[in-house]
Subunit: 208 residues, 2 copies
DNA sequence: CCCGTTGCGTAACAAGCGTTACGGCAGGGC
DNA sequence: GCCCTGCCGTAACGCTTGTTACGCAACGGG
């Protein structure tokens, strides 16, 4: 049987086009024909690669997650602990046009993705990945002595995820300048608080 | 000219019905006919009160804001400062079914509300109201000596809004139990951090 | 060299959408 | 008591949507 002649490339083209359309006009107006036109193909090609629209949307969310993931691993590199953590979070903040588009897609697919839907599972997986990664980096920071052992890595990771989600969501209604300014400050504050707890812990022994 | 015979009541009924439908099935599947059926009327009544669907959605978001606002003012009551602030934030956290539905509507209307749309303006107004209220309460807390004067009320309010938005957004993908547990802890942490700064400040400077 | 299979364009489908036009019903102003 | 005017149910319109059926070109295995 003749396998795929040159297939996986054009499937990715359709997903990338759908991602762009969703980011631009939302899920509501991201019609099959518009996506096909953006990809430079027709609906026949789209329906050939995807069972239905829900399937395509799930692929779009997965693509969105991969974009974020690639950005994160590039930012982390071979770093460890707090530096890597700050880089990872920074890579997600909606402080430029590209990152804001990723948030646009993420939030747009949040609503219509009803519980049990395929896209909803992809979305949840993305958040879980982020939380686990951050928890691992917090653990490293404790291991390396950057943070006191009293730090609850899992909880701090969840807290960081909430910060990222909150900033990302509000980026849709706030001015980019303000988001850029506040987001950086909040990230720095949240990390600094934990570091202060460490130095306090050390100096606190003699003071008390 | 004969004014409205008994009008404003049925308009509200349609808005409330639309709010329920959007919370249940999302904006995409919240059709005019379905909303009308939920309200116990027909599309003729709906189109009589609202110019078009965007107009109705804007009213739904406004309704959603009012629900949250009523809950906030009930929680604040005649309280001041940190107690009132904690009550206000607590009134917004998606820790029960009612509050989660409000978040469902808010996020669902975030995506399809393209910039310049009427619903987007309503959404932004809701966030602005919350931020100003929290800033005022932070100011009161500083005034009453609950927090040191070094506290930047505007920034802390923005930070609190981010916490609320993040928790609300993640409530859609996390289990209710976990959200309930983490949200309370994060709120307490964020407030406690500021209070600790005060006691440190006082014990360091002069004996309170 | 042929043939089965795959990739994808074309075209059509039925369903459902938002929206509009119209008509009857009621209730106050003159 | 007439009539004018808001209220709302009925019904239809035109359009777009997701989806499907079909057909041609290309390509690799036998």
């Amino acid at each position: 049987m003749p396998r795929t002649t040159r297939s996986p490339e054009s499937r990715e083209r359709v997903v990338a086009a759908a991602w762009r359309v969703v980011a631009d006009v939302g899920v509501q107006d991201a019609t099959m024909r518009r996506i096909a036109a953006e990809a430079g193909v027709t609906t026949g090609s789209v329906t050939h690669h995807f069972a239905d629209k829900h399937d395509l949307l799930a692929a779009v969310v997965r693509h969105n997650n991969l974009l974020a993931r690639d950005r994160i691993v590039a930012a982390v590199g071979d770093g460890r602990g707090l530096v890597a953590l700050e880089g990872a979070v920074d890579a997600l903040l909606p402080i430029d046009a590209d990152r804001r588009r990723e948030w646009q897609v993420g939030v747009a697919c949040w609503g219509p993705a009803a519980p049990g839907d395929r896209a909803a599972g992809e979305l949840r997986d993305g958040w879980r990945y982020l939380e686990r990664l951050l928890a691992a980096l917090f653990d490293q920071a404790v291991e390396d002595g950057e943070l006191p052992p009293t730090v609850d890595a899992g909880y701090e990771a969840a807290r960081m995820v909430v910060l990222v989600a909150g900033v990302g969501m509000l980026a849709g209604v706030e001015s980019p300048e303000r988001v850029r300014r506040d987001a950086k400050r909040m990230l720095a504050d949240q990390l600094q608080r934990l570091e202060e707890a460490r130095t306090e812990d050390h100096t606190g022994g003699m003071g008390r």
